[in-house]
Subunit: 166 residues, 2 copies
Amino acid sequence: MTDSFFASPGSKAEIEEGERLSPKFDADGLVTAVTVDADDGTVLMVAHMDARALALTIETGIAHYYSRSRGKLWKKGEESGHFQTLVELRVDCDQDAVVLRVRMPALGPGVPGAACHTGHRSCFFRSVPLGTAPSPELKLAVNDEGRLFDPAKVYGAPKKTDTPRF
Amino acid sequence: MTDSFFASPGSKAEIEEGERLSPKFDADGLVTAVTVDADDGTVLMVAHMDARALALTIETGIAHYYSRSRGKLWKKGEESGHFQTLVELRVDCDQDAVVLRVRMPALGPGVPGAACHTGHRSCFFRSVPLGTAPSPELKLAVNDEGRLFDPAKVYGAPKKTDTPRF
């Protein structure tokens, strides 16, 4: 069924630089999805899409993913209300990854939307110190202003999160 | 050997919000690496890192990946000269993906560095039209200003590219 959504892969040059969308799904039927804030470019999260999630995202303009941990379609925000509306969808040269430029609903006056199930705006809220070989003692630094929402209030019991990893 | 680079995974809470780096490598021993321009946030490329590539990136501050197609360590720029110098390395909540904020050498006066083996600045130089269900006839649109370098001049014969997919 999903085959009918996309073009059959052509030559390497056609895949890499042509005008047809022929996604290269991996052995699990997935492409990598990188989701960024459409306005300031912050990388919000990395997830995956199967053919159906990709097709629904294109058709509706709302981000859909495939949850590997739950083994099913995952419409981001279906439990939390934290939907992602696409401004642009990009595909890379070998068509095994996409970038979603999105907007998310603000959580309050002056409080931006948040993509991470931990309550942080971005899943990438920790930085790795550079310049020396890593060791188990290495300490990550938090690079944001902390949680924007309380996961317990948004998701209830931990099992109910709509953002399993992933 | 590489085990000694990183902390052993702790509890889910420690992995997701703690201060230890304990990357969750997949069945192939890889994490996903998203590389963005440190200054304007443009997503330049998506690739992968094994433990050694991640450790070298942290130690040297220069981006190293693992080339899946060549099955070996890949120091980006080793053939092209298009190295990537890290400004920041971020890790996501479940520690199976990293974001590299990098700077690349300008290709000339007013010409930014380019990350894609096709000669484009970003691998994500095509956009997917939104709003209707995808079909094989869907046409991608080019969203950048074209090639910034000639791959044949930089890499020579096609086989020599340092950016296999991937």
